[in-house]
Amino acid sequence: MKNLKRIIAMLMAATLMVAAFSACGDSQETTTAAQGDESNRAKTAEGGTFLIGGIGPLTGPAAVYGIAVQRGAQIAIDEINAAGGVNGMTLALDFQDDEHDAEKAVNAYNTIKDNGAKVLLGTVTSTPCEAVVEKTYEDGMFQLTPSGSSVNAICHENAFRICFSDPSQGTAAAQYIKENLGYTKVAVIYDNSDVYSSGIYEKFVAEAQVQGIEIVSAQAFSGADNKDFNTQLIAINNAQPEIVFLPIYYQAAALILQQSSKAGYNFKFFGCDGLDGIIGQLEGDAALAEGVMLLTPFVSDDPAENVQSFVQAYQAAYGEIPNQFAADAYDGVYTIKAALEQAQITDASADVREIGTALSEAILQITVEGVTGTMKWTEDGECAKTPKGMVISNGVYTAITQ
């Protein structure tokens, strides 16, 4: 009898718990909906609110990318809504945190699905993107990642990207170093535990052979926890390269710059889009970034009108210069807008799969003039655009002039 009572008590507790959970679920939906309402301050159009889901790291070590994407996308959405929306629909953004973790990204995806998102702008980082792309493929949702650069991140026909892929960055970097800068002795420092870094490195090595570049020293480190690069720098100094290639993120690159300067080395550095943000990371030592070259599709001091209006809007809203991730997201929203117009979607409540199929076809037919260049998409989801060579001088990115 005693046991029976206990079982009943446990049953009650279980019911209570489930009730509490479902209550949580409900309240959560209402808050997000409320936030949605808040974010489209512009007038509600007849077509309803077209909800764009976003996923990226808002907390954790990669948070800077997620936050930039969220802000860049929000600016584009506000602009579009102020100009009257798309096909009579108002756009709204529901951006969820994935902590740069594949498992959490799937949870975030399920959340935006519950909240009624019709397309996905994300995810921001590669590995979570590889997990989420399987889910969007299952559901037929149109996915456009602003910055997920690994090959597998867009392996299905419903997924496209704004940024360059890792292999194309490696190839482009090798070509640029040889053809535009004329260097043939290159040293590399890369993170062998990181998909982005090792992906670029692998293709860089392959293309370097084709180009006749000699890799005099390739130094690997493992993980973002690595803080001491002196061993790698000494080895590189012994190899006497003409330029040091850094296919890594800016946090590690900032440490490399600081330690290299402390040791008295005078290397020329060349990097990819991951170096974007290095000036902010160096803080007081910003002068160290002088002369660092990088290949990136976006520069904030580009005099083009659309770039400047975006930079000003971003600065006015968030008080900082947008980085490349914000620009990718901004272009991503405008791409979704152009595709929606091309596919003539006017009903925001249409089925996710219907919208997905229509948009996947429409995106192949459009050309978008964005802040990261002129973009056209191919069936494999890649975006064709040319990277620009940039050099940091006087604390700002400027185009490399030969």
Partner: protein
């Protein structure tokens, strides 16, 4: 090993025969069954959304992880900080096995149990391997060694290159496989160093996961309740006394490490067959600590509490998504408050009173009926 087997089967018989603590055990086993049953029902009726649906299987493998860690930390009384390492071994070994055999063994009903067994056994071997050198250690020293073990496993997995072609498997450590050795036309990359393991068939579902949770609970609960379990607990309570009573400490420690690693491996296999990608980075000390938090909050040596704590703590950050950027802050505060409140004497007193009150009421009700 033979001893353990007979103990377990005797325990199962005892469970069916409703003897001694069997009722308590049944309740503990019923909690996850009921919880997941009710949740699945609510999901299919549309009350709970896809977020919740997506949480159910991860909850299952975290429960297996937490319960198996509780065996080491709560029952044996040794602090292990490398539990995610065993999960990593299971996830990779089981995942690679299914990846390779998905064309030869087409039925998931044969392939998946095999993968679970192989992944679990591989993790158990690692558990025994780590168990042997650290038998002389305990306390902080053991914690440090297990922490290092978890990191070593993670780093090894991050450096494996494995590809399949018409000639069979090609393996390379730390450097990419020489393309000249591969038959490019039939080449399939399985593991590429730090790149995530992708393409494991998605064999896991809630039913299988729940069955594994129940099996884990039956085995571990009965082990604790057996002669072996009492011997293990005597080592925890007083090692010298246990040793002088003729208890073979080496043997029992190895049993615990092996079994705990086995189930962590099973959880890993489940994870790699459910998640779309498996990344070695995921199994770092943060994950080990997370599982330890589930165990500590649930109660050392208390399996039922561990299950409830796992469900609450894993689901909480997801359910707090409505708070946007304050989510992790609130989660941390809730965690601190729960830890303090759970151990507060006043609160424990109130909880006991509430319990007494509830049971008394029900007794009265029943008498009325």
């Amino acid at each position: 090993m033979k001893n353990k087997k007979t103990d377990v089967s005797a325990g199962v018989l005892k469970t069916i025969g409703f003897k001694s603590t069997a009722g308590n055990k049944i309740i503990t086993i019923l909690i996850p069954i009921l919880f997941f049953g009710i949740c699945q029902m609510l999901v299919s009726y549309g009350v709970l959304g896809s977020l919740f649906e997506g949480l159910l299987v991860p909850l299952c493998f975290y429960i297996i992880m937490a319960v198996s860690l509780n065996l080491t930390v709560g029952i044996l009384g040794e602090l292990s900080l490398g539990h995610a390492g065993f999960m990593c071994v299971g996830a990779y070994v089981g995942g690679i096995f299914s990846f390779i055999t998905q064309e030869t063994i087409t039925s998931p009903w044969i392939r998946f149990p095999l993968a679970i067994l192989i992944g679990g056994l591989a993790a158990a071997i690692f558990g025994l391997l780590i168990g042997i050198p650290i038998l002389r250690l305990s306390g902080d020293y053991l914690a440090i060694v297990t922490l290092a073990f978890g990191e070593i496993v993670k780093n090894i997995m991050q450096n494996i290159y494995l590809a399949k072609d018409i000639n069979g498997l090609h393996f390379s450590f730390a450097t990419a496989i020489d393309p000249a050795k591969l038959d490019m036309a039939t080449k399939v990359d399985i593991l590429k160093g730090p790149m995530a393991l992708k393409g494991v068939p998605r064999d896991a579902n809630l039913i299988v996961a729940l069955v594994l949770v129940v099996i884990t609970l039956i085995v571990i609960l009965n082990l604790i309740d057996s002669r072996t379990g009492r011997a293990i607990m005597s080592i925890r309570d007083n090692r010298i006394a246990a040793e002088s009573s003729g208890i073979n400490i080496t043997k029992y420690k190895l049993i615990v490490f092996g079994l705990s690693a086995f189930f962590a491996g099973v959880a890993g296999v489940l994870a790699s067959h459910y998640n779309m990608v498996t990344e070695a980075k995921k199994f770092d000390y943060n994950t080990s600590i997370l599982i330890l938090v589930f165990v500590v909050l649930g109660g050392l040596g208390k399996m039922r509490g561990t299950i409830i704590a796992t469900i609450l703590l894993y689901a909480l950050p997801e359910l707090l998504r409505g708070l946007q950027s304050y989510r992790m802050l609130v989660y941390a505060i809730v965690l601190i408050v729960m830890m303090i409140v759970n151990n507060n004497p006043w609160f424990i007193e109130q909880r006991k009173r509430l319990k007494a009150f509830l049971f008394k009421n029900k007794k009265a009700e029943m008498e009325e009926n």
